[in-house]
Amino acid sequence: MDYLALYVTLKLALVTTLVLMVLAAPVAYLLAYARFPGKSLVEALIYLPMALPPTVIGFYLIIVMGPRGWAGRVWEAATGGSLLFTFLGITIASVVYSVPFAVQPMKAAFQKIDRRLLENAYILGLSKRAAFLRVIIPNSVAGIAAAAVLVFLHSIGAFGVLLMVGGSIPGETKVASIAIYEAVEMMNYEAAGLIALSFIPISYAFLLLINRLNARAGA
């Protein structure tokens, strides 16, 4: 079995989840509480990766991260390396691909918090930032955990966007879904079947977890 591909998959899903938990929390906070012109347009833009075919996202990421794209040029100037066909490249792709799955449940969790709790925090002297960290986050744990599980599951299932941005370099960018695809291409059904089978318990366990978290968040 291609353990290396499984390892890359889990590493990618874990890093994506960690990055998105940090990045998505303030974005979800702004969408939940802030009022600014063009908010619905910004929100739709954040959710766009959910509505686009993964290959379309992959295509635009190649344009931006490639040697002629602005991100690719900046990265090359800074490090001398390329973003495409690297683990960093597929991590960026995976983050972009999963952004909506992090922001949406977090926003919903933040919105559930009674406004009076926040007002009481302000009365007790907390700044908005401190109230976010000491009141909103601890009271949204179930929602945040549900977002993390969703992102993790969505990341381990990514295929098209990763193939376009990262190709299939063993140990670097070749994730399990690509390994399955390649094994099938080579008529190696046994190898494909083994990797595919390993997904089932992982995904099933996470789905059970998400159901429990949703039940807790709704309680």
């Binding site: 009674d114 009481n120 925090a121 009365i123 002297g125 907390l126 601890p138």
Partner: protein, 237 residues
């Protein structure tokens, strides 16, 4: 320290226009029918709602002045605010709730003793009764050493017996407080029992005759019917 406030604010059904003052150690009870603007006044004092115009001065500190564009944030006013509910943070136990903005933990222990909830320190808010929650909410507000204490119908969600007990405790506490206290209620007995001064607020305006009109209404309707069964009220009037 004296608090003096005047506000004007356009609300959905009427214009709120009100001025009052409250001296340190005194309790001003704002009373009136629901929806008359009492909570809006309290929220404007706390800095949570912006008045259209007006001025709030505490001692020699200006908290709000529409003419000079001054609006001190709620965080900077250092006041205590006890809500009808939702004052406590669900993720913290009672002690951590009360100690949330406390100056000293020892004081929180003392307040818990005073309010007889020391045995509940480790309980989460959903594991205690409504009366115990409100006791803790008062501890939370007091532990911050507030310069002004605002109580917005703090006992209205409680049963009559608990309410009476808390009313009495609050009266004892009032004697020890050195800050102005503003108390909002729609319960006349509570107002008469606690107040140093009563401010009836009806449709956003001070209506001094409201108490008298309400109490002397024919028995059998509203507050006067309850009033007739309350010996304290018949002694006062």
């Amino acid at each position: 320290m004296t608090l003096s406030a005047s506000f004007r604010k356009r609300l959905k059904y009427f214009d709120l226009e009100i001025s009052f003052a409250c001296r340190a150690g005194k309790m001003l009870v704002m009373i009136g029918p629901s929806g008359g603007g009492k909570t809006t006044v309290i929220r404007m004092l706390a800095g949570l709602t912006m008045p259209d115009a007006g001025r709030v001065v505490f001692g020699d500190e200006v908290w709000f002045d529409s003419a000079r564009n001054i609006h001190l944030k709620p965080q900077k006013r250092r006041l205590g605010y006890v809500f009808q509910d939702y004052s406590l943070f669900p993720h913290l136990n009672l002690f951590d709730n009360a100690a949330f903005a406390a100056e000293s933990k020892k004081e929180v222990h003392d307040l818990f003793e005073l309010f007889k909830i020391s045995h509940l320190k480790k309980r989460k808010p959903h594991m205690v009764s409504g009366g115990e929650r409100q006791r803790c909410a008062i501890c939370q507000a007091l532990a911050r050493h507030p310069r002004l204490l605002l109580l917005d119908e703090p006992f209205s969600a409680l049963d009559v017996v608990t309410r009476r007990g808390l009313r009495e405790e609050l009266k004892i506490l009032k004697g020890r407080l050195s800050c102005p206290v503003i108390y909002v209620t729609h319960d006349i007995h509570e107002a008469l029992f606690l107040a140093d001064e009563i401010l009836p607020v009806v449709d956003g305006k001070i209506d001094r005759g409201w108490m008298q009109r309400t109490i002397t209404r024919e028995p059998g309707e509203g507050i006067s019917a309850r009033g007739a069964r309350e010996p304290r009220l018949s002694l006062v009037y």
